[in-house]
Symmetry: C2
Subunit: 548 residues, 2 copies
């Protein structure tokens, strides 16, 4: 048995100690490598959206020198971290999960104050975050992401074929932008961070300004896991500051090799532009804008219009509509069933209490969007939800228009982030196909149907496959399972890169690239590619998939 | 057993008939779908680089209306072609291969006239082209590229987990640019076309102006296979014309969803820019610029400097150096062994006959590059090859400089396409690491070593992994095997997208994106995702890889 000789610099990596003591104080600092660093620019505080009041403490924003230092540490850490064993990397992810749980109620309390989200939702989101980290620990251990592939040498062939072996390695340090709407699951230790770390990439995180205290707590949980697992400090840093300065400087930094972002179309497109204009362009995974069309096929509507309408209103108003997969468009054939759908939806919506939106800025953008729709020609308001208890409450809105109006006014296809949706009355099911072709890229597309709608569904499905990352039947798009078969992605502008998903096991693929090794002596071969398969991986050997 | 109901529009797809009769006449037309279309712009002829004389017939270049028509046909073909069965798609690829062979000597003769490449090389390249098509037929049948993944529903869980299934589908019509240096293997039915067709994507090909007759012959072979396999005509079109007009119009066309290109850095970067600026940005796979550094470790040099030098000169001058993987940089520690290497290399190079380069333009760019190196400060000419028999012969060139000069002059790192290389004398092996860090992205990086060089090799390997797509030990980079473990890719500027390879089985992954299906009834599920696994695929089922 010939094992790869230990590479000297790997000696420092050790199995995680579980005796971490976590500090739940928030001091307003950034985390650069192992240090806690006060920011020198633009002091700011978190705002409690429910009260409009500023929260303690004061946070400091970063300067370009902080970006520089975080990126340099990440660059230094990369070669060491990416060769930590699969087991070490998996334990590190599990340690982050445990540390987040160990923060206890302090984390949930702070996140409630900063986001206006209720306790149960945030506890659920914490579970999702921890589950996501553990899923990636399993993914790392399974090692299928390595794509280990071996082609035997054929020395007798003319010309001789060399010994060729392929594995995937991390792209390099990744810049991750925390999202506002999932202060845990898509923020500091969320899906992008977990999948980048799983891929062997150090992460430099730009914390979202709406929940800096939550970010600091979770950042410390990651930082503590880096330390207790004996990993190089540059594996994780967290910066505060403005997206336009700190965010852009981060994406432009030569050490950064990929970007993960969830946010607005404008923000995502700006990062795509910066990344494309670098001397060395890099991939950007921006999850941006989706209105998640639902197509209501005739027999489904004839059978259960009211039932579908109730579920739709629940999905629309969940979490004040602040989900990327919120159903913003409903297409149905005009007639009695649709009238019934509209009546039920209107009644249900009027009963929905307003709930606090994430930030005053999001609330005001939502109101502007609703106002824009209210004033659009041939668009009428069907119903509003209740006004809500505070100045930042989102008041749900439901509009109706016809297909001709929808097709002629591109503004009706713009995402309104929050609980607003537009019902579009169509002539017939044939028009669904025309409308689907007209749509931009989406995270999800949904059909409600019965077996009697089969022909129409089969005609529509290929179009939806081209337009969306996930296709749902008789369900609502707002639940996004973290599993192996999930795609939370889709053609532009849903994301910047339809070849990827930001949720689920295959999110790790975003941060990998293949390397081929020709005629390497055994002592240079990575473990994944050694003859005796010491990692027990599934590998493609001479074109066949085998576990040897 | 519940099979997916046949979708009506698929009725037209039938198993390939083998009775094709191929026409080996060249009439100068473009191929748009099933038609042979005279071009209306800039009439041109192929030039025989060995004689400088124009060849018959006259070719017509395309206009924007031709781009429009080819793209429209491709768009119409996509939904049908991508749902052709794996077997149908594989037979189509095999039929293309057979049709190319059926062109017989006419193809080789025309390619010799247009490229100046010798018969044996072109016959070998035809074998590679046909082998590549057949490899992708096998890849298609194996179906691992589908990434079929199933997560069972968990109705009892709270919240219930839906049934989720994932497969990959093609991105859509792909624009492929024929390359000059492989008139068969990287041109009309080359690696990009074969992998895009394998992925289920129609191809609109922009033929390279240097070998239009070869392109027309191969194009007709593809067109005939489309027809005999009963596929929609838009699966393949071939346009002639200028890259700056027809090429750019093609990349900008909304129906095009990805681009495959092999050529210059300038050309590739221009396409990347166009693709990024589209209303819907699309991925570009451009293989552009690589100088393929070789690091000669001290014990290998002490043991066999002369032997390595001879092999190096053979690799450098193969095919007049017109390979993307041509070894353009040699790093070695200054001293006796390097002197011996230089002496042997100089003698070997002086004995190398000049051979015809592909085009007068390539020849002239090569001469300019050599002249630029000759005039660079602290760079000296070590040897030239022989001048060659005709005005387009490339005269090989070998230069020497020192590491300080190399590190301070970025121009020394620019690719000179053709048989030119630069030997860089280093202080010691530690300097190799500094130099490797300094390099841009490469297709390949090579180390010559013995077991006594182990420590230095282990220190250098992680840097080379970050810089190159393929790492070779004790070999020369110019052979690029078409197999499963090959990576012909690498960080920018070697390619525009280091996450991919343009050679080998996994090249298919470039043109795919995942789609997730939630709670689909059996009659809507694609065959790859049906419960009983009718295609016999390897699938990830509830997180485990199984063939069921």
């Amino acid at each position: 048995m010939t094992l790869r000789a230990p590479i000297p610099y790997l000696g420092a990596v050790r199995i995680c100690s579980k005796e971490t003591v976590l500090n739940t104080e928030i001091n307003g600092n950034m985390l650069i490598g192992a240090s806690s660093t006060p920011g020198s620019s633009g002091p700011f505080r978190a705002i409690n959206p429910a009260t409009g009041l500023a929260l303690d403490p004061v946070f400091g924003g970063g300067a370009v020198a902080d970006v520089e230092r975080a990126c340099m540490l990440a660059e230094q850490a990369f070669d060491i971290y990416r060769e930590a064993s699969l087991e070490q990397r998996a334990e590190f992810l599990e340690q982050i999960a445990q540390n987040i749980l160990d923060l206890g109620p302090a984390l949930i309390e702070r996140a409630m104050l900063e986001s206006g989200l209720p306790q149960a939702r945030l506890e659920g989101e914490r579970g999702r975050t921890v589950g996501q980290l553990r899923l990636f620990a399993k993914v790392v251990r399974d090692g299928r992401w390595l794509n280990a592939t071996l082609d035997s040498a054929l020395p007798e062939r003319s010309p001789p074929r060399p010994d060729l072996r392929l594995r995937k390695i991390g792209l390099g340090p990744v810049a991750v932008f925390g999202a506002s709407n999932f202060p845990l699951a898509f923020s500091v230790a969320g899906g992008d961070t977990a999948s980048a770390l799983a891929a062997g990439c150090p992460v430099v995180l730009k914390a979202h300004g709406a929940h800096p205290g939550t970010s600091e707590l979770v950042g410390k949980a990651v930082q503590a896991a880096v330390a207790s697992c004996g990993l190089p400090e540059g594996v994780f840093s967290m910066l505060n500051g403005d997206g336009r300065t700190i965010g852009q400087a981060l994406v432009a930094h030569p050490a950064i090799k990929a970007v993960g972002f969830t946010g607005s179309r404008q923000g995502g497109v700006a990062l795509m532009k910066t990344a494309a204009q670098r001397p060395e362009p890099i991939p950007v995974y921006a999850e941006m804008s989706s209105i998640n069309p639902m197509f209501m096929l005739p027999d489904a509507m004839a059978q259960r219009a009211s039932n579908i309408a109730s579920g739709f209103v629940d999905s629309l108003t969940l979490g004040s509509g602040q989900f990327c997969t919120n159903p913003g468009l409903v297409f149905a054939v005009d007639g009695d069933a649709l009238n019934k759908f509209c009546d039920t939806a209107a009644v249900a919506l009027r009963a929905k209490a307003g709930s606090t939106m994430l930030t005053p800025g999001i609330h005001s953008a939502f109101n502007s969007g609703v106002e824009r729709l209210s004033k659009a020609e041939h668009v009428s308001l069907l119903a509003r939800g209740q006004a809500g208890a505070n100045a930042c409450s989102g008041q749900a809105a439901l509009f109706v228009t016809d297909a001709a109006t929808f097709l002629s006014n591109p503004a009706l296809e713009e995402e309104i982030f929050g609980a607003s949706s537009l019902i579009v009355k169509c002539k017939d099911v044939d028009q669904f196909k025309q409308i689907a072709e007209h749509l931009e890229g989406q995270l999800t597309a949904t059909m409600f149907l019965t077996e009697n709608d089969r022909d129409a569904a089969q005609a529509l499905l290929p179009v939806l496959e081209r337009k969306a990352g996930r296709i749902l039947i008789n369900g609502y798009p707002t639940g996004v399972e973290v599993s192996h078969a999930m795609v939370h992605g889709g053609p532009f502008p849903a994301t910047s890169d339809s070849r990827s998903t930001s949720v689920g096991a295959t999110a790790i693929d975003r941060f990998l690239r293949p390397v081929s090794y020709q005629d390497l002596p055994a002592y240079l071969l990575p473990a994944a590619l050694q003859n005796n398969n010491p990692l027990g991986l599934w590998r493609v050997r001479d074109s066949e998939l085998v576990q040897s």
